[in-house]
């Protein structure tokens, strides 16, 4: 018996060691890549030298689509409804990302149509707003309280529309992961993102940006938001972010915010696989925009991807980097 235990322990330990070794190797590889390819191109840089039909943009779009397809399949396999929202701050706050939206949004819509995923494009409404009224410009382009209220009001009809959506998957307590989001559980801090815009970040026990914990078994509809900083909402206290406002509006539902700063579809896919699916959402609202396509550029991924694995450049990326970005 003792031997068995001991043997078992040794086996686990070896696996852990191998994982640690792999992680260390990956970190070194990322470090080297970041050293060799330090520049992350601004959103529109990719179009500055080559148009929307360049081999590079085609490649990035194909990565986006691949992950999108997988994410769609995996979410819908649980019976949950998936809806894409195209959401970004007004164009006037993003001088470097105009082409990004111009070329990216039609492609995203095309993907959604092809795959039969419902999408709602919020950008026409947001683009006509006075950015100084709904964002934190000039300090930052993310939502202020009014912007957040506006975003919540635009999303509310989607939640209403899919009030009957229901997942058919349940997990036992011992199957479920401890966290569903990437924030440290029970996080309670004041941050300012280096922009002198302090805000109070609270995460629940499950690493989601919300003030209360999710209870199982479910007794109401669960709505999971996945997205980047537009969903996470930096520089606003929890009570003012769109998902909290929606929670107040829909007390009969559980509104979960798993937003991650600087994330793209690949990050949502891995988050879904590793953690988010265990929250048993009935409706999954995914925020995206044109930037999510260009965010697939390898040097950006090496800096911010949540997988923490190395992203070596493809031949097309390397050529672009060496031609236009190398200093």
């Amino acid at each position: 018996m003792l031997q068995g235990c001991s043997g078992n322990k040794t086996a686990v330990s070896k696996e852990d060691l191998a994982a640690i070794k792999k992680y260390d190797e990956d970190q070194k590889a990322i470090e080297k890549l970041n050293h060799d390819y330090p520049t992350v191109p601004e959103d529109d840089k990719i179009f500055e030298f080559q148009g929307q039909n360049s081999p590079l943009y085609m490649e990035l779009k194909s990565r986006y689509k691949n992950d999108f397809v997988q994410l769609k399949q995996e979410i819908e396999s649980t019976g949950a409804k998936m809806v894409m929202i195209i959401l970004r701050q007004p164009e006037s706050t993003r001088e470097h990302a105009v082409l990004n939206s111009k070329y990216g949004i039609p492609f995203i819509k095309e993907c959604c149509s092809q795959l039969g995923v419902e999408y709602v494009d919020l950008s026409p409404v947001l683009n006509i707003q006075d950015a100084t009224k709904i964002t934190l410009v000039p300090k930052d382009g993310h939502w202020n309280q009014k912007g957040s209220e506006l975003v919540a009001s635009l999303i509310a009809p989607i939640i209403k529309k899919y009030g009957a959506a229901k997942s058919n998957v349940t997990y036992k307590d011992n199957e479920r992961t401890e966290t569903f989001g990437d924030l440290p559980p029970h996080e309670d801090r004041i941050l300012d993102g280096g922009k002198d815009l302090p805000y109070h970040l609270v995460a629940n026990a499950q690493g989601l940006r919300m003030d209360h914990d999710i209870k199982f078994p479910k007794n109401k509809q669960f709505v999971l938001f996945m997205g980047g900083s537009q969903i996470y909402s930096p520089f606003l206290d929890n009570e003012f972010i769109a998902t909290s406002l929606l929670q107040k509006q829909f007390p009969d539902k559980e509104i979960m915010n798993s937003g991650i700063i600087a994330a793209t579809i690949e990050d949502y896919l891995t988050l879904w696989r590793e953690k988010a699916k265990y929250s048993e959402p009935d409706l999954v609202i995914i925020q995206t925009n044109g930037g999510d396509i260009t965010d697939y550029f390898f040097s950006g991924r090496n800096h911010v991807a949540r997988t923490h694995k190395p992203y070596p450049p493809s031949p097309v990326e390397e050529k672009f980097y060496n031609t236009y970005l190398k200093r």
Binding site: R189, I190, D192, P198, D237
Partner: protein, 472 residues
């Protein structure tokens, strides 16, 4: 190149070795100081070395001329001209926006004046220069004939950015000698650098975010939370500024120059007068020597005395920043003196509270608490960006809004400064806060190592936060 950075550590390590090696040649040390200070100052954004050295040249030759002229009237005229010339840069860069905004018809000029860059440290080196020239005029200090020595004194890097504002009578003569510290001075300096770093990196840098949060979100925070935010700001400011001053003084001692102690446990003061003798001492000494005493000081009748106090504090407010908020901050501090003056209770304490005792007496505890609360409330004007914000804060704090539970994270923020206050209280009668009365060097080293470990563990590891007083 903040004091608490690797860049500064590298700069200072090289600098001190070269400086000490030249300890036999005081003039050469001054030249090294001048070059090192120039490099240090140049490393900061918003530094204006050209302006600094112009001011040094003006100050040097003005003092030489004032010394040479015998006739009193001409001497005075030259003094006034020199002061105008030296003060013009400070007035133009720091106050033109405020002045234009205050004069009807010139508000159009205000917008362009707002874009003027205020050179870092200008308030300090301008006041140092003014102090020197006035001292020469009064015959309280001997004119410095060696230009390098004078330039090294004004641009001296330990005090150029945030003081202490030097007194030429006590500091300048130290530049004229060979400078090398003793072992005990080196150890004391090390202790003060560690303690200053602790206050900056383990206390102030951890508190600053919650303080900023309170002043940013004052509209929806309740009165109690805001009160705690203001208390946090006062404690944060002390940790930040006194931490800087401790390090500046210690670095200077390593260079063989003993600066004025800028903070002497102000939070243990028993009345506002004692508080202001212990907080930013060098500025208050400057105000006393060059404004308060020449205008009669407390030898005036009570009415004149009160008026003078109010004037001095308003001036002090204006020194901090060109806004009505700072003037109000100063005025309110001055107003606190009035009941003490009218009731003849403005005691000039000569010792710290409760010498030799663990705890203060009840009377002292009451006096200390009252002084702390009063001075803390003035910080509302000091930290708020404008009158409106200050008004909202006062309104919320002095209303039923005060009787709500505070935000836990803001209340918790105060814990950061408990070890600092506790240790300073316990060690209040020592030369420096980390001083251990033991001959065993290893015990002292263990204490230093523990504090360094605590700094390393507690430092929030985010972008470096500039010292608050750099903006003045």
């Amino acid at each position: 190149m903040l004091f608490n950075t690797q860049d500064f550590a590298l700069f200072f390590s090289i600098f001190i070795v070269v400086y000490w090696l030249c300890f036999k040649w005081g003039n050469l040390q001054n030249l090294i100081l001048l070059l090192g200070s120039g490099y240090f100052y140049y490393c900061f954004r918003n530094s204006l070395p050209f302006y600094l050295y112009s001011l040094i040249i003006i100050g040097y030759f003005s003092a030489r001329l004032i010394e040479r002229i015998e006739e009193k009237k001409k001497k005075k005229l030259l003094l006034v001209c020199s002061l105008i010339l030296i003060g013009a840069g400070l007035t133009y860069t720091k106050y033109s926006g405020f002045l234009f905004g205050s004069i009807p018809g010139l508000s159009g000029w205000q917008a362009s004046a707002m874009h003027i860059i205020v050179p870092i440290g200008i308030s300090y080196f301008t006041f140092s220069s003014i102090g020197y020239i006035v001292d020469v005029y009064r015959g309280k200090t001997v004119v410095e004939r060696n230009f390098i020595t004078y330039a090294a004194y004004i641009s001296y890097f330990p005090h150029i950015l945030s003081g202490p504002i030097p007194s030429s009578a006590t500091i300048l003569p130290q530049f004229s000698r060979k400078k090398i510290p003793t072992y005990s001075e080196i150890e004391r300096s090390a202790g003060e650098i560690i303690w200053g770093t602790f206050k900056k990196m383990a206390v102030a840098d951890n508190m600053v975010m919650a303080v900023n949060y309170c002043f940013e979100h004052y509209t929806y925070l309740n009165g109690f939370t805001l009160l705690l935010g203001v208390v946090s700001f006062n404690l944060y400011l002390y940790a930040d500024f006194s931490g800087y001053s401790d390090i500046a003084m210690a670095i200077s001692r390593l260079l063989g120059i003993e600066l004025t102690r800028n903070f002497q446990m102000p939070f243990f003061s028993r009345n506002p007068a004692e508080y202001w003798r212990r907080w930013h001492t060098s500025l208050n000494k400057w105000m006393t020597n060059y404004i308060y005493l020449p205008m009669g000081g407390n030898q005036n009748n009570k009415f004149q005395y009160i008026f003078l106090i109010l004037f001095i504090f308003s001036f002090s407010g204006l020194w901090h920043g060109a806004s009505y908020n700072f003037i109000c901050w100063g005025l309110l501090n001055g107003i606190y003196f009035i009941p003490y003056i009218l009731t003849n209770r403005l005691v000039r304490y000569k010792t710290l509270p409760s010498p030799g005792r663990v705890l203060p007496t009840l009377r002292e505890a009451w006096q200390i608490s009252l002084t702390f609360i009063l001075t803390t409330l003035t910080r509302i004007f000091f930290r708020s960006p404008d009158f409106h914000v200050a008004g909202v804060l006062f309104k919320k704090i002095f209303s039923t809004d005060l009787f709500h539970a505070p935000m836990a994270i803001i209340a918790r923020n105060l814990w950061w400064c408990v070890p600092m206050i506790a240790l300073e209280w316990i060690q209040r009668e020592r030369k420096y806060f980390l001083e251990l009365k033991t001959d065993k060097i290893y015990l002292r080293m263990i204490l230093y190592a523990i504090v360094i470990f605590v700094i390393w563990k507690l430092f929030p590891r985010k972008d470096l936060v500039e010292y608050y007083y750099f903006k003045f």
